[in-house]
């Protein structure tokens, strides 16, 4: 039922079995004893109760035994966990960005992807960066999860042991489309991975502006077909006249290149009427001017 | 009231029980302490993360005004403690005088605080103002905490002042006597708490040089 495809899976599952084993033993044992008492000392069978006030011996036993057992549980939990935070030297480093509601991954050579590709049998360290709110990168098959906290550098690492494609899910609630913030990790063998590395990253026929929109998750908030998601749709937006609120004052503007550029760099300076301030974060540090003009070019095509 | 007929239990919840009121007051003070406690934790953490900025910003505060206010509060703590002594001895007139002195001192405290705040606000340091919004992050946090903590404290001063006024009024009406002065005691406890909190606020904001 559960795929285990990383070096941690065994340790984590083992501590699960230890804890679950002890627990199930006590659960079943106690339940049986309880039901037996109810049956055996039912008032029909045992009309007169005996008042037993307690027993020091028993109290000591059932304090000591659980203490011992929980310490065992703690120990295995800790042992299974320790490797999760010790990254071996020479790990391949990838930066993962989380933003509402899309993961993207940046490789050392600068390529940006929306799903992860890693070689088998090699440690991979993922630096976790959030651009807006909390997210959490969760790979069930690897038994691995760590939050992406804005303003704080966090990381996780793993070493895949099985080839294939595994789910990545966002496990920290991050707003409306949290449950659609999915991605995947593909584990390839050494040769396959190198081949993937060698293929040029953007040979697509796509408009470069569209690629940028996809890579930066703009499209999770802005549709291309006129429907309203979180932000205004890009369809027909260029050249449109609309009402924005700037520092509490409403004014009418015509959308041109400069306005789009400002909307991307300082989205909260002019807030479109009917939309919320603060949801879109600034992309000033993420997109260069050239990229912004590619985006603008693309938006112009959406009539 | 509702309990007119029927069995009267010796330990009724409707009996007068001064010890219970005092205990209730103490427990209430505990919750107040922890309310401020939460803010102190925030202060501690942000100070750890923004050490320099906190140092720098504290220079903006006026140590002398802070010191004067400390003295004012300490004196007011004494006067209210004395008013309890006075009422215990049956001297209501003196007790009222001391209570009113305390109220006067609390007003003095607020006036000084007002001048402090308005000079800060004048500089645009209040959260949400332009100047504030452009401060470096650490300094902005400092001033936010400054306003939040001293503001909450000032709110307590106001409530305390009103409470003490009520006590004075009821003493005057003869409802508080040398046989029945829990109200004065509880107002005193509350007032001392306000003092206690200030004793920590003062070095944390004004004296980190």
């Amino acid at each position: 039922m559960r795929t285990s495809a990383s070096t941690f899976a065994q340790g984590v599952d083992f501590s699960l079995y230890v804890i679950a084993g002890i627990s199930i033993f006590f659960l079943i044992g106690i339940t049986i004893v309880m039901l037996f008492f109810v049956f055996r000392y039912n008032k029909k069978r045992n009309p007169v109760a005996s008042n037993i006030e307690g027993s020091h011996k028993l109290e000591i036993i059932w304090t000591a035994v659980p203490t011992l057992l929980v310490m065992v549980m703690f120990y295995y939990g800790w042992m299974g966990y320790k490797p999760l935070r010790t990254v071996p030297a020479g790990a391949l480093e990838v930066t993962a960005y989380g933003q509402m509601w899309k993961f993207s991954f940046e490789y050392p050579d600068g390529r940006l992807t929306d799903s992860l590709v890693v070689p088998i049998g090699k440690p991979v360290k993922i630096n976790l960066v959030s651009r807006d709110v909390l997210h959490s990168l969760f790979i069930p098959a690897f038994r691995m999860k760590e939050d992406m906290v804005p303003g704080k550098n966090n990381f996780l690492w793993f070493e895949a042991t099985e080839k294939g494609r595994f789910d990545i899910l966002c496990a920290e609630y991050c707003g409306q489309l949290h449950s659609y913030m999915l991605s995947s990790v593909t584990v390839l063998d050494e040769a396959g991975y190198n081949q993937w590395l060698a293929t040029a990253s953007s040979i697509s026929e796509e408009h470069p502006g569209l690629t940028l929109l996809k890579q930066n998750a703009c499209l999770t908030c802005h549709s291309q077909d006129g429907s309203k998601i979180i932000g205004p749709s890009f369809k027909g937006v260029f050249g449109k006249t609309e009402i924005v609120e700037s520092e509490g004052v409403e004014r009418e503007i015509v959308i041109d290149e400069a306005y789009i550029s400002r909307s991307i760099k300082q989205p909260n300076a002019d807030v479109v009427k009917g939309y919320l301030k603060g949801l879109m974060v600034s992309y000033e540090a993420v997109l260069s001017d050239e990229q912004i003009s590619q985006i603008t070019d693309y938006i112009k095509t959406l009539k | 009231m509702e309990h007119a007929h029927g069995l009267h239990l010796p330990n009724s919840g409707h009996n007068r029980d001064d010890e219970a009121s005092k205990m209730g007051m103490w427990l209430f003070l505990f919750t107040e302490l922890l309310l401020f406690g939460g803010l102190f934790i925030v202060y501690m953490v942000y100070r750890m993360l923004n050490h320099e900025a906190f140092l720098l910003s504290s220079f903006e505060l006026n140590v002398w005004l802070g010191t004067i206010n400390t003295v004012v509060l300490l004196v007011s703590s004494m006067t209210i403690a004395m008013s309890i002594t006075a009422i215990q001895k049956g001297n209501s007139a003196q007790s009222i005088r001391l209570l009113m002195t305390t109220v006067g001192l609390s007003l003095l405290f607020l006036v000084i605080k007002y001048f402090e705040w308005s000079s800060k606000i004048h500089h645009g340091l209040f959260p949400g103002m332009d100047y504030y919004n452009n401060l470096p992050k650490g300094e902005a946090l400092f001033f936010f905490l400054y306003f939040m903590m001293t503001g909450l404290h000032a709110l307590h001063i106001i409530i305390g002042g009103i409470l003490i006024g009520v006590v004075a009024y009821r003493t005057k009406k003869g409802e508080v006597t040398s046989k029945k002065y829990t109200l004065t005691e509880n107002a005193g406890l509350y007032w001392h708490l306000v003092d206690l909190i200030w004793i920590y606020l003062f070095p944390l904001f004004y004296l980190i040089h």
Binding site: K43, E53, F74, P150 | P10, H14, T31, L34, G128
Partner: protein, 539 residues
């Protein structure tokens, strides 16, 4: 019989709505709480049902993603702040604590009324978010920053509501502590108090000392939203992790606010239905204090994946395991109480047994979550959802309904149909486990919580779970209608002590008179559960 006719019970002393909503009688206030709680419970439970319906199949079944998010937030807020935290203390604690101590009211009757009013105002504030702006908050009941400071829904109002309700909780706790210290009947030392009183004592300390922290934290969220300061939002300087610390400093102890009173009623029902003294009175009493105390120091186990430092994770995980020990002591003593008893199987006992079983599952899954390795995998998955429904609903919820069946004849002086109650219990029990056990499986498979939509591989457990929720609904409706039907019966006399109980509430009339007792209560010779020297109770 004659005694009954000469004494007016507390229902009869005064009439009219104002005699209720402005009453300072602890019994009436308890019932005010009861009616308001049950109302909110039904709202919350209906929201739960809606969520389950949405999750029956992958994709959209009923509502939009945003609505779903608002539903689970509302569900969580209602269930936690409006139902489960006040549940047992405010209803049964208010009603029975003074009676069990042999007094006629709490120490501060007017403060008690004020607590209820604050609770109602807070609840109305929470519900008012439905009516204006962008609707109820969509943040989850945890209000994690920075999302909670960014979203456009009515977070400010929801947070203020939680803040206000917090005060109601603080005041109730304060009242109980003073009552226990000051109003015990002559001869009732601390160690002769019923265990329910002990558990309320421990609970009250948590309410008093933990709630202010969340109060101030929530105020900071409000300040951040209104003034735009960067307290928790890193893009303007703050640290979101700090919010989590402050939130859980309260909210972890809060889970023991929910659990301890339940432990208390369980410790009452077991001796009554076994007709013997409780096993290990002191162990049970002091373990409540131990749980309350240790419970303050383990909040970090909710943050194992937040990027906390390794040292902190180590310490918090270890401390987490320590709370299991006093809980274990309780469970073993309870089971030992059945030994050589003379067991009378009645609906309250069934709820008690189910409580022990389900609370064990909840507790053990808690241990799985407390271990670092496994929590990394299971954090924020349905395993956690399964865990907390097992402890909160399967534990405290079942104890609440058990207590309701137990004290029902005392409160209303009537009796429900026992056979129907047993049938309802069985359906309830089956539905419950069918609803929540599959969640544990889904969690192990890796299904994250707060998911509006899920991958196809999680379909089966979700389907079973949804069907389970329907079974549970049938059980609940049957149980409640049986209880209501009991109230409609006329001219019943259940006597003072239908279950042959021993604590002081059974010595008085059912329903009790306004001043609680019609004669001076008598306490058993050696401790509260000394069935051998049980004072004779004549009708």
């Amino acid at each position: 019989m004659t005694a009954v006719s000469t004494h007016l019970n507390f229902f009869q002393t005064k009439k009219g709505i104002f005699s209720w909503i402005f009453s300072v009688d602890h019994k009436r206030i308890a019932l005010l709480y009861f009616y308001s709680l049950i109302t909110f419970f039904l709202v919350g439970v209906t929201l739960g049902l809606l969520m389950r319906y949405e999750l029956l199949n992958p994709g959209k079944d009923l509502v939009e993603a945003k609505t779903y998010n608002q539903i689970f937030t509302m569900h969580g807020v209602i269930m936690i702040f409006l139902f489960i935290i006040p549940s047992i203390p405010a209803v049964f604690g208010n009603f029975f604590l003074p009676i069990m101590l042999g007094t006629d009211d709490v120490s501060f009757p007017r403060l008690n009324l004020l607590s209820w009013w604050i609770y109602v105002i807070g609840a109305l504030m929470a519900l008012s978010t439905l009516l204006f702006g962008d609707g109820p908050a969509d943040t989850g009941w945890t209000f994690y920053a920075p999302y909670s400071v960014k979203t456009g829904t009515n977070v400010t109002m929801s947070v203020l509501a939680a803040f206000v309700i917090g005060f109601s909780s603080i005041l109730t706790g304060l009242n109980f502590i003073v009552t226990i210290h000051r109003l015990r009947t002559p001869g009732m030392t601390f160690l002769k108090m019923p265990l329910f009183a002990w558990s309320l004592y421990a609970t009250s300390w948590i309410q008093l000392l933990a709630t202010p922290i969340i109060g101030i934290t929530l105020l900071m969220i409000v300040a951040e939203r209104v003034l735009g300061v960067g307290l928790f939002d890193p893009s303007i300087g703050g640290d979101p992790i700090l919010y989590q610390h402050l939130f859980w400093i309260y909210s972890h102890p809060a889970v023991y606010i929910m659990a301890l009173p339940a432990f208390g009623v369980i410790s009452e029902m077991l001796p009554t239905f076994s007709q013997r003294t409780i096993f290990g009175y002191k162990a049970i009493a002091f373990s409540s204090l131990a749980i309350a105390f240790v419970g303050y120091f383990i909040w970090g186990h909710h943050m194992f994946t937040s990027g906390m430092s390794g040292t902190a994770r180590f310490v918090f995980s270890m401390l987490t395991f320590l709370v299991a020990i006093p809980t274990a002591i309780k469970v073993f003593n309870w089971v030992a109480t059945l030994y050589k008893g003379s067991i009378n199987v009645q609906p309250p006992l069934l709820y008690t047994l189910a409580f022990i079983f389900q609370f064990m599952i909840g507790g053990f899954t808690g241990l799985v979550l407390g271990a670092l390795a496994t929590d990394i995998h299971l954090h924020d998955t349905y395993f956690v959802v399964g865990h907390f429904h097992y402890v909160m609903f399967g534990g405290t919820g079942f104890a609440f309904f058990g207590a309701l069946h137990y004290w029902y004849p005392k409160i209303w002086g009537k009796m429900y149909n026992i056979k129907v109650a047993n049938v309802a219990f069985v359906i309830f029990f089956i539905g419950f486990n069918m609803l929540y056990f599959p969640m544990l499986i889904a969690g192990l498979m890796g299904m994250p919580r707060r998911y509006y939509d899920y991958l196809p591989e999680f379909h089966l457990p979700n389907m079973i779970s949804t069907y389970g929720s329907w079974v549970l609904a049938v059980g609940l409706i049957l149980m409640l209608s049986n209880l209501v039907a009991g109230l409609l019966k006329k001219n019943q006399n259940v006597g003072r002590n239908p279950w042959n109980g021993i604590t002081l509430e059974w010595q008085t009339l059912s329903p009790p008179p306004l001043e609680n007792f019609d004669r001076m209560p008598e306490i058993p010779l050696n401790g509260p559960y000394d069935f051998e020297h049980k004072p004779e109770i004549k009708d």
